[in-house]
């Protein structure tokens, strides 16, 4: 990693990183990676988000699914923790609530493998600024 020495460095770095993330999000990359975000704020962790995240990482590895699992902050759905957001290549992100190990397994088997939605979707009800 190079130290950012001036604003141009930052801008260039931002550009590179943005491209990387966009590739991941839009799924334009040849690998077509599945991206999963796990809400790991205090409320999420208290309801078991850590176990779910570990399970997802291990199981996706075992089942040979190319996916990136990242931890993120609070999505705001505290009543339905743990929450995870799954983005399949070329599709809109979908948020699932009350995800325990069994639910995580169902999500992998049905949604990630077959694109079949499972119960527990939380409709996003906010817009975020860019």
């Amino acid at each position: 990693m190079n130290k950012i020495k001036n604003l141009d460095d930052l801008r260039k770095m931002k550009q590179d990183l943005q491209n990387k993330i966009k590739l991941r999000e839009r799924g334009d990359s040849p690998e077509a990676i599945v991206q999963i975000k796990v809400g790991m704020a205090t409320s999420g962790i208290a309801s078991g988000a850590k176990e779910v995240m570990n399970y997802l990482i291990e199981e996706l590895e075992k089942r040979n699914i190319d996916a990136v699992v990242t931890q993120v902050g609070d999505m705001g759905y505290c009543y339905a923790e743990p929450t995870i957001e799954v983005t399949l290549p070329g599709k809109e992100p979908v948020v699932f609530g009350y995800v325990n190990i069994a639910k995580a397994d169902e999500i992998i088997e049905k949604y990630i493998k077959n694109g079949e939605l499972v119960e527990g979707i939380l409709p996003a009800n906010y817009q975020s600024i860019d």
Partner: protein
């Protein structure tokens, strides 16, 4: 790959379930099977769409069609018209109340624009432990812009023009605060971030720090540039271990990447940030007490002036802002003051993060533009009251705020309106109460908190609040008098007027606002010795309905103090003098023969 091409999402939130969404789902499945479509189209139950008023909701994926008020009988039409023939069922589409037009899909619905995330823009979006994701989302670009293109005064002017006001509770204009600190010349100044979030039920700041720590670090550096400080301190409560961990990681990464530290972006500006831990005293959220606590002294407030901007941490000019205030700064710099001031009301600009808690369906964290009504927040975004109960009050502003009632539901939320209604914005906790909550007990609950947290330095707060608590306790015991109610009000006014700091000046608010808005309930407790919510144990009376009692003796056997007597197969009776109101008999009775009066 699977053959599923379409999904029908049926809302499974409490609101929609009570308007028969499970039956809607069932008939949709039946219709699909009747047409042999069960492999191509799946029905899925979802969480609440936050649109309970228009429920039950059915959303069709992938075309995002949004059907409202769907009845089980509508299933046939949806399947035959929409799914098979591809024609949307017009009459079930959501109608825009302003334009009176059908809205074909959810992306065009006003409703989903109710929440705008500025302070929470990256929460739940980026990995908070990875600075690269933050940079990809513009982190430190605002700092770069300030350092290379703008003078400190120009930055202050942008903040002033944006109309940003302190999100910690007071609502002081941030730009003016910065300007004052900038004008006080000194060899050393400090930027302090107040992360001592102490209101019960509030977790906005924690979520920002856990989800997007870099936005706070960046804004602190911007503030440092404006006021001429190169040292920042974050005062955070030790009860927030995860936020502390993520802040530490963020500071370390920012130093490694050179966006904090010495000579940032080669401009010669240096800024270093350290953490200071609070031991969880509520009063340390008050800025002078916070500064004393950081200095290693007792967390007690001192008289202002001098304000921290003149003589703060170690006697040097210090600017203290709350976490959420800081999180708003970078977007303002990048998107401009006009953009920010276009959101919100006349005197309160931008958005506010609220932590919804209490008897509400969607407990959680929301960010809404100022000027939204309580009704929209509670009934639309919050999904309404739990278990279909009746809304009674909402408490805003924590122990310093007040209770607002049904009459305030349509008041636009902003700093001034809430103050005028006898409550306050506070840091953004919102506790919703239903018909089962006793307002006297609620006031007592908050007073108990204040009594516990009063630092004891000034007598109105130390002694006055204790007396307030005792009077409230007396009323809940059924021993209050009408004079007590008068005394409550007078004492509250005195405490407000004479306390040293914000804690004491606002601690009687829960009492005053409940006295004003729920006077009847206080009077009932005093004159009729009755608690309509059935919360005040001492005022409860368990009575056996002689008609319904079959004399099974279950209650008598459950009673721990032998207050129930009666022959087998004959109606029983509770001796009120012995009864301790534990409710054991009530729980035991299988015939609903025991009721509470």
């Amino acid at each position: 790959m699977s053959t599923v091409k379409m999904h029908l999402l049926v809302c499974g939130g409490t609101g929609c379930v009570s308007s028969y969404s499970p039956q809607v789902a069932e008939s949709l499945i039946k219709e699909l099977e009747a047409h042999g479509l069960q492999d191509e189209c799946k029905v899925v139950k979802t969480g609440c769409f936050g649109f309970c008023e228009q429920g039950p909701i059915v959303k069709v994926i992938p075309d995002n069609t949004f059907y409202t008020k769907v009845a089980p009988e509508d299933a046939k039409e949806i399947i035959e018209e929409h799914i098979i023939k591809g024609r949307k069922v017009d009459r079930l589409l959501y109608t825009d109340p302003k334009k009176q037009e059908h809205v074909p899909d959810s992306k065009h619905m006003e409703f989903y624009k109710k929440q705008i995330r500025i302070a929470l823009r990256n929460c739940g979006f980026i990995d908070p432990e990875n600075i690269e994701e933050a940079i990809a989302r513009d982190a430190y670009s605002a700092l770069g812009k300030c350092l290379t293109e703008l003078t400190p005064q120009e930055v202050i002017d942008i903040i002033k023009k944006s109309g940003l006001r302190g999100r910690g509770g007071g609502g002081f204009p941030t730009g003016i605060k910065w300007e004052i600190a900038a004008k006080n010349a000194s060899d050393q100044k400090y930027v302090v971030c107040n992360a001592d979030e102490g209101d019960p039920g509030a977790f906005m700041d924690r979520s920002v720090l856990e989800g997007d720590p870099h936005s706070v670090l960046e804004a602190m550096a911007i503030c440092g540039y404006c006021i001429g400080a190169n040292k920042g301190l974050i005062y955070i409560r030790a009860e927030y271990p995860l936020a502390i961990k993520r802040l530490k990681i963020a500071i370390k990464q920012a130093m490694e990447y050179g966006v904090l530290g010495d000579d940032i972006f080669g401009t010669g500006f240096s800024f270093h940030i350290e953490l200071r831990y609070g031991a969880g005293a509520f009063v340390c959220g008050e800025e002078t007490a916070l500064i004393h606590s950081m200095e290693g002294q007792r967390g007690e407030p001192t008289v202002k002036p001098p304000f921290p901007a003149e003589a703060g941490y170690l006697g040097k000019p210090t600017n203290v802002n709350n976490v959420e205030t800081f999180a708003n700064v970078p977007p303002i710099i990048l998107k401009g003051a006009e953009w920010f001031s276009s959101i919100g009301t006349e005197r309160s600009k931008g958005t506010k993060v609220f932590a919804l808690a209490g008897k509400i369906n969607n407990v959680g964290l929301i960010e809404v533009p100022m000027g939204i009504t309580l009704r929209e927040v509670i009934f639309e975004i919050g999904g309404g009251i739990k278990n279909g109960k009746k809304f009674k009050a909402v408490q805003t502003g924590g122990p310093s705020g007040g209770c607002l009632t049904e009459t305030h539901l349509d008041t636009p939320i902003d700093f001034d309106n809430l103050l005028a209604a006898g409550s306050m914005m506070g840091s953004g906790g919102m506790i919703v109460m239903d018909e089962d909550d006793c307002m006297v007990s609620i006031a007592k609950f908050f007073l108990e908190f204040t009594v516990e947290e009063s630092c004891g330095k000034c007598s109105p707060c130390r002694i006055g609040n204790k007396r307030l608590y005792e009077i409230l306790d007396k009323i809940t015991q059924g021993k209050g008098t009408m004079e007590d109610l008068e005394l409550l009000r007078n004492l509250s006014e005195v405490i407000k007027d004479t306390s040293l700091c914000g804690l004491g000046q606002s601690s009687p608010n829960p009492v005053l606002s409940t006295l004003t808005n729920f006077w009847d309930e206080y009077v009932e407790h005093v004159t009729e010795k009755k608690c309509r919510a059935g919360q005040c144990t001492a005022l409860k009376k368990y009575i056996i309905d002689e008609e319904a009692c079959v004399g099974c003796t279950a209650c008598a056997r459950a009673c721990p103090v032998n207050a129930i007597s009666g022959e087998r197969k004959m109606p029983h009776n509770i001796n009120q003098d012995i009864c301790i109101k534990c409710g054991a008999c009530y729980e035991k009775c299988k015939f609903n023969a025991i009721f509470i009066k």
